[in-house]
């Protein structure tokens, strides 16, 4: 997790080399001293080093993937295939078990819109916090403030109200407006487009298409195959932590749909 001088090709936005992630699945939750003590006692009685109190679940099994700059790539797969884990590792939420991933450029992960909104604070206060947590400085927030409010369709009076008084649609619009006014070269989106009404979804699509036109790299994880057909130019199909297929949109989606049908 350090900044490293240029490594690899500048033409690639993301380089993933045999990335592996194992999670420990505990047989019970170990959040207190008592349960830790019991577990230690049991393992000392059993005197068996291989008998651990957790199982290893492989979420990603040595995945390698290179995403060229400016590509819009979609990741699909059944629940538990490792899509979200991959995104979370790129977003630096989890550290990998082995392997390496390099991201060239500033990366924003939209795993949740309006993350960290506090209902009791006003729209303005939440905007400042959310934008700061996504990496904007005070001056940048000031500069983009009007643009963000306009995009979200919220007037000054509304921005001064506590967010708990907003409708869920208004909260989403504010979250999305902030997320799309950041300086970013690589955007990770986790199901972020499947929210809001038709008109708002259309607005989101247009924003994503604008990002594509600007040459930014987009990684989308979604179950909405229609969205993928519209936005992506490449699809990676993950299955049980390995890449089952990687190619152009019609080919992979066709195979994926057939696999879904045959189950």
């Amino acid at each position: 997790m350090t900044n490293d001088p240029m490594k690899g090709g500048i033409d690639n936005a993301i380089e993933i080399k045999s990335l592996r992630k194992e999670f420990r699945v505990y047989r019970r939750t170990y959040n207190s001293l008592k349960t830790h003590a019991i577990a230690a006692a049991i393992s000392s009685v059993k005197r068996d080093k291989h008998n651990t109190h957790y199982d290893l679940r492989v979420a990603l099994a040595d995945v390698s993937l290179t995403v060229p700059r400016g590509q819009a790539i979609a990741i699909i797969g059944r629940n538990g295939s490792g899509k979200s884990t991959l995104l979370s590792i790129l977003a630096r939420i989890y550290l990998p078990t082995s392997g390496e991933a390099i991201v060239h450029g500033r990366l924003i992960a939209l795993l949740e819109l309006g993350a960290g909104f506090d209902g009791d604070l006003t729209g303005n206060q939440n905007l400042v916090f959310n934008a700061a947590i996504l990496g904007l400085t005070q001056d940048q927030i000031k500069d983009r403030y009007d643009e963000i409010c306009t995009f979200a369709g919220l007037d000054q009076a509304t921005m001064n109200l506590p967010v708990r008084m907003y409708s869920s649609g208004m909260q989403l619009r504010l979250g999305f407006a902030i997320a799309t006014h950041l300086d970013t070269d690589v955007i990770l989106v986790d199901e972020g487009l499947a929210v809001g009404d038709e008109a708002f979804q259309e607005k989101c699509f247009r924003k994503m298409e604008q990002f594509k036109a600007e040459g930014r790299t987009i990684v989308i994880v979604s179950h909405e195959l229609d969205h993928i057909e519209r936005l992506a130019e490449r699809v990676v199909w993950l299955d049980k932590g390995v890449i089952k297929m990687d190619g152009d949109v019609p080919t992979v989606l066709k195979a994926y749909r057939e696999a879904l049908m045959s189950d």
Binding site: Y54, I93, A101, A115, D120, F129
Partner: protein, 302 residues
């Protein structure tokens, strides 16, 4: 163009690299501190005034206890107690809050990356703002209100120039402690109960209700034991900082009742400041190093 290399956690942690990474997010720290203070007093009529109510009320109660019931105090007992509660309250509230600091933000830490130090340090700084408010109340009480009621209480001794250093020692020690507690409490939720128990008992090991020098005059100890016990007691930076606040703000005076042999309070001791300052730097570094090791697993908490 910046590049980020994501690698598995290695056996070694570069604490200075981790700190530089944290420092890149200092603007977020400021926003989080402001937000924390806002949320703390949201929807309350008195607002920030609440942060003054607790110290003022506790000082009133202690003063009544000591002057009216125990009959041991002098005329400035209330201010004398007030001065020592300033660092103690900062330490105890900051440590108590820090046990929840990471767990409270865990949902957010699972959605957006930002340095894990931010919630802990923001929590210490929020309490530091409270400390500054209490400090202001103290100054108004000691040199404003007292002057009006009893007359000018006199300037503090020249050692008051050490105040910034003593406050730095207090903040460093508290931050190191907070790093330990916040990291441990993610995996062992008993920690917060242990901490509140230790703080309740620890209050009696800090010179708030009594002058630290009383240990030196304890009739139950031999003279050599008196000196050893007194210095061992002051090796605890929290106890020493509380005493130092009194020494810097009041100077030396006789705490013996009229008619008995004089018992002088000790003057500010720069050598003890150096020792406790060193301890605090060490505490802060070890706490941070421990935190850096633990923080990699926060989001994978079972």
């Amino acid at each position: 163009m910046p590049s980020i290399v994501i690698r598995p956690p290695g056996p070694k942690v570069d604490n200075f690299a981790e700190f530089r990474e944290f420092w890149r997010y200092k603007h977020l720290l400021r926003v989080l501190v402001e937000r924390g203070i806002r949320i703390r007093y949201k929807n309350s009529v008195l607002g920030v005034a609440w942060s003054m109510v607790t110290p003022i009320l506790s000082v009133i109660v202690y003063s009544i206890l000591i002057t009216a019931i125990l009959h041991t105090g002098s005329s400035n007992t209330s201010a004398y107690i007030f001065a020592a509660t300033l660092p103690w309250n900062f330490f105890s509230f900051a440590v108590l809050d820090s046990s929840a600091a990471i767990l409270q933000q865990l949902g957010l830490l699972k959605k957006i990356y930002f340095p894990r130090e931010i919630p802990v340090i923001s929590n210490v700084l929020q309490n530091f703002v409270q400390f500054l408010i209490s400090m202001f109340v103290f100054v108004v009480y000691r040199w404003g209100l007292t002057t009006v009621v009893h007359g000018w209480p006199g300037w503090p001794p020249y050692q008051v120039i050490y105040l910034p250093i003593v406050i730095t020692i207090m903040v460093l020690f508290t931050t190191g402690f907070a790093f330990f507690i916040s990291a441990l409490n993610v995996f062992y939720e008993d920690v917060k109960f242990v901490v509140s128990l230790l703080l309740t008992l620890g209050f009696y090991f800090v010179p708030v209700l009594y002058p630290a020098e009383k240990i030196q005059y304890s009739a139950r100890l031999t003279p050599s034991m008196q000196t050893i016990a007194y210095h061992a007691y002051l090796l605890n930076p929290v106890a020493w900082v509380s005493q130092a606040f009194r020494q810097m703000l009041f100077g030396v005076y006789n705490m013996a009742p009229v008619g008995s042999p004089p018992q002088m309070t000790a003057p500010f001791d720069v050598r003890i400041m150096c020792i406790d300052g060193f301890e605090s730097v060490l505490m802060c570094y070890i706490g941070y190093a421990f935190f850096n090791r633990m923080k990699r697993k926060f989001t994978e908490r079972p």
